[in-house]
């Protein structure tokens, strides 16, 4: 039930696909859903928190609490294969295997989700959400988002 909650900013991804959903426990005081934040300041986390409460409530599963756990820290390596395919189909290049090294002017090329070309250029390392960067494909000339390796 909780696993079906989607990221409000990337609705093709569920929180299970993202690796944000860490655990669900049916405890004596009701259901406990444990989630971990993606970025420290990701504004979607509150929405995800509220959506989980609503989803469990709609299913009539009784009292529920949502706990935020910080360790281990979220990484894009936890994203599921289904999630990666859904991202690419949605036009967002999935993250590369982490961790991303600190380099200057030498970022691993984004792979165009439209034509598959690696002849791509980073337009901006910070995109429309904390988790994405903006790239352009030089082969098909289309701009696209890249899910940042984190």
């Amino acid at each position: 039930m909780a696993a079906a909650v989607v990221d409000p900013e990337i609705p093709v991804l569920t929180i299970a696909d993202l690796g944000v959903l860490r655990d669900v426990v049916d405890g004596p005081a009701g259901i406990v859903v444990r989630i971990t934040p993606t970025y420290s300041g990701c504004p979607a986390m509150q929405m995800i928190h509220d959506e989980i409460l609503a989803a469990v409530d709609r299913a009539g599963l009784g009292p529920v609490t949502v706990e935020t756990v910080l360790a281990p820290a979220w990484t894009t390596d936890w994203m599921t294969e289904r999630g990666r395919r859904a991202l690419a189909d949605f036009g967002i290049a999935p993250p590369l295997p982490g961790p991303a090294p600190v380099t200057f002017f030498r970022t691993a090329p984004g792979i165009c989700p439209r034509c598959g070309s690696t002849d791509t250029t980073e337009i901006a390392p910070f995109g429309s959400t904390a988790c994405k960067a903006l790239w352009r494909c030089e082969a098909c000339r289309e701009p696209f988002d890249v899910f940042k390796t984190h």
Partner: protein, 258 residues
């Protein structure tokens, strides 16, 4: 003291957590001042994104501070209801935005320190601090890259951008030494393994800064008198103005929510 202000406990762990949270909040607020004023859309978003990361780190730390203090306070109480002298942030992060070069050089100098700092703190014996560090380290690494690239572009750019970048570096340099001076709270905690002594990162920081400054064709400032006082609550004139804006609503309308 203005009515409504709070006085926090003086346990070293609480004080330390508030110092690091204040660094992140104050610098995050500085970056938020750029929102809508960036030199181009992409940079406007980059500055806001970095500010949001820092705000998130501040929230995690203040929330932990509330748990440590156990006085029923929330993250908002520490941000909105402490006076300037109670803030323990580094002087570096409260420096005004200036032009784009000042903002980017300031960001680079701070992130080049915080990236190895958070990396080292992932081994903290305090599980919550280690967890916050593991997340913050990845965000900080991204900030180093972005700000470092801008320092290189500006330094190795036009005569105008180069002059401004050098001016920014020279003006901010005396505020960098404080990063490596352990606060009273840190000194009390180092032996427990909960925190590291930031002085041990001075060489690594200098190596990163020297490399980027060289690639930017800028000149590393000479060793000079280093300013200090932020950790003890002795701030420049700038923090008061920043807090006036940050705290205005909660001070004027205590407890306001929406």
């Amino acid at each position: 003291m203005p009515s409504g202000s709070i006085v926090t406990g003086d346990a070293p762990l609480l004080r330390y957590v508030l110092e690091r949270a204040d660094d992140a909040l104050v610098l995050g607020h500085r970056l938020s001042e750029w929102c809508g004023h960036g030199p181009m859309m992409e940079e406007d978003m980059a500055l806001s994104n970095m500010g949001l990361d820092l705000l998130g780190q501040a929230r995690a730390l203040y929330t932990y501070g509330a748990a440590v203090e156990g006085a029923g306070r929330t993250e908002d109480d520490y941000a909105y209801l402490r006076d300037e002298r109670a803030y323990g942030n580094l002087l570096l992060v409260e420096q005004p935005n200036g032009d784009f070069a000042v903002t980017m050089v300031r960001q680079f100098l701070y992130a080049a320190f915080m990236t190895p700092y958070w990396q080292a703190m992932t081994s903290s014996t305090d599980a919550t601090l280690a967890a916050i560090a593991a997340k913050a380290q990845k965000e900080s690494a991204y900030h180093v890259r972005h700000a470092g690239e801008w320092v290189m572009r500006l330094g190795d750019g036009t005569d105008e951008s180069r002059a401004r970048a050098q001016q920014a570096l020279d003006a901010l340099w005396p505020f960098t030494g404080e990063c490596f001076m352990p606060s009273t709270a840190e000194q009390a905690l180092v032996a427990s393994g909960a925190v590291i002594d930031p002085a041990m990162l001075a060489a690594a920081w200098r190596e990163t800064v020297a490399r980027v400054v060289a690639d930017a064709t800028l000149t590393l400032p000479a060793d000079t008198w280093m300013q200090r006082g932020g950790r003890e609550g002795r701030h420049g004139e700038h923090l008061g103005h920043l807090l006036a804006e940050l705290q205005h609503l909660q001070r004027s309308h205590p407890g306001a929510t929406w």
